[in-house]
Symmetry: C2
Subunit: 314 residues, 2 copies
């Protein structure tokens, strides 16, 4: 048995996982981000101990702990270099959890873990070249290349959200201009629309959200676009064009067999992937996309937890 | 011993190569592109026979022939799907050379072969994650990932010249808009400058080429930029910005340890790589470029020939 833990900016999900990839028990707590790293580390430790109790006399069989969290992880030193969601810099999570539990612990980037989990358990390891694209507030990526998780030299590869799609484009939180994330990440799309509403734009979108701008999300924007709202049509077309260009770049560069989409924006928007696929097909070299499958993730939240528990076997 | 062959649009270079990667004998002929595939195939066969004669009684030791050529090669069927330089579609080169020589033959994309050759013999296999960028009239790429040449699912991966850097940008020969190649490929840069000269632009560039527009190349454009020519300053800055954005995208996505530049545009332009590196450093995530080395190719024309001869060992 293993323990898999998904440390997000709002919640920590932990699970006891069988060697065959079944989640036996789940635990969830709200992440105490504001209390800082020591507090979150202790939360993780408490979840591990709770799962130990659940495991009862099988607890001795827990041989590995895998933890997934957002950010860049130096796989040579096992240090989390930077995690914007958790507000961490250079934290030794692996070392601390190992010291507290005595169990071998592995820390992995959350989208890497999620992509690995989906590939291994959602898609049963089919295809050797797989790209995971997570579109939530931001955009993350995970790469399975030649049948293995690809991490790059320092372990920080796969930052798909931060490829440049327009050097003079929108400012990204990473500091660059024109990142894929700055065009297609949920929080960026929503803030562009909110800005226009603040400047007085009205239309079908206004009716759809009933003037409650605070709760606006990308699902509303797609709905308004489908109803012919001018602003949302303009915004949606831009998102689709840039998402399609990102897919084309990935296809031409990596020639994958499978692209797996996940994240809130993808879950909330019905036509986004299909529309972007058409853009990709228009832009990409034909041989690069021959046989390419584009699918939605199948495992939901369990993907990251399962991936965290198994990715150290790589 | 092996035979390595580099089939280009203007010349075919062939060599007898030792198992340690030394080129023992070289042969070169002009490519009879206009006469079509059968004629070029026969040229290749004649070069192989000539190298056999050179090898004398060691000819029996030639166990493998490797051929590099531009274009997309389906590694499952060993067919050259499309080669724009050679004007080939769906040609069975591997099969034909094997039938004519009785020797196992392997066909590889020329930039993949060149990257592999540089990595293996120019850089002695150092680093496990290496990106080769060839900038000539167009732009090609080769990827060494986790210590192996990466080809993607069908074998057509690594088309680095055709990642999108601006969805509404310059038209590329591949049909897409805003490809890296359309911004930074030599023939595209030159044709943009020529167009402005045809529309009447004069300046220091005009003096540098002494009014002989036909022979204009990117070296002239860099020279004119360094002399303060307005047009070339504008063009050069755009090239540097887009090349830097491409480097940033590669670094964030693949986190390589080494990027190797080759090709006529790079050889002819002294400051291009250094200037683009500064743009990359401004745009990329710090962890993604920590320790990244950017180097020029070391082997010249031999890289592709050597790569062709050895890449089948992969």
């Amino acid at each position: 048995m293993r323990i898999g833990i998904d440390v997000g900016g709002t919640k920590i999900a932990a699970g006891l996982v069988s060697e065959s990839g079944r989640v036996i028990t789940r635990k969830k707590v709200k992440t105490e981000v504001r209390k800082g790293y020591p507090s979150v580390r202790d939360q993780i430790h408490r979840l591990v101990r709770a799962l130990f109790s659940e495991a009862g006399n099988r607890a001795g069989n827990i041989e590995r702990i895998g933890i997934a969290c957002a950010g860049q992880i130096d796989q040579r030193t096992h240090t989390i270099l930077f995690s914007p969601n958790l507000n961490w810099s250079n934290v030794p999570l692996k070392h601390d959890i190992e010291a507290a539990t005595g169990i071998e612990t592995f820390v992995e980037n959350d989208v890497n873990a999620g992509t690995y989990g989906e590939w291994k358990f959602g898609f049963h390891g089919e295809s050797s070249n797989v790209v995971g694209i997570f579109i939530g507030t931001g955009i993350g990526g995970g790469l399975i290349l030649n049948g293995r998780l690809f991490r790059g030299s320092l372990g920080v590869g796969g930052e798909l959200g931060h490829i440049t799609l327009n050097p003079h484009g929108y400012l990204c939180n990473c500091g660059n201009r024109g990142c894929f994330e700055a065009y297609c990440g949920g929080s960026y799309i929503v803030s562009r629309v909110k800005e226009r509403l603040a400047r007085g734009y009205r239309g079908k979108l206004w009716d759809i959200v009933e003037g409650r701008v605070d709760g606006l999300h990308t699902g509303h924007i797609e709905e308004a676009y489908l109803s012919g709202d001018d602003l949302c049509t303009e915004v949606w077309r831009e998102v689709v064009e840039y998402l399609g260009a990102a897919l084309q770049s990935i296809a031409n560069l990596l020639n994958p067999e499978l692209i797996i989409f996940s994240g809130g924006v993808v879950a909330g928007a019905k036509r986004l992937i299909d529309d972007a696929r058409l853009v990709m097909e228009r832009r990409a070299m034909q041989a690069s996309i021959a046989g390419l499958k584009i699918e939605r993730a199948r495992l939901g939240d369990d993907a990251t937890l399962l991936g965290a528990a198994f990715v150290m076997d790589e």
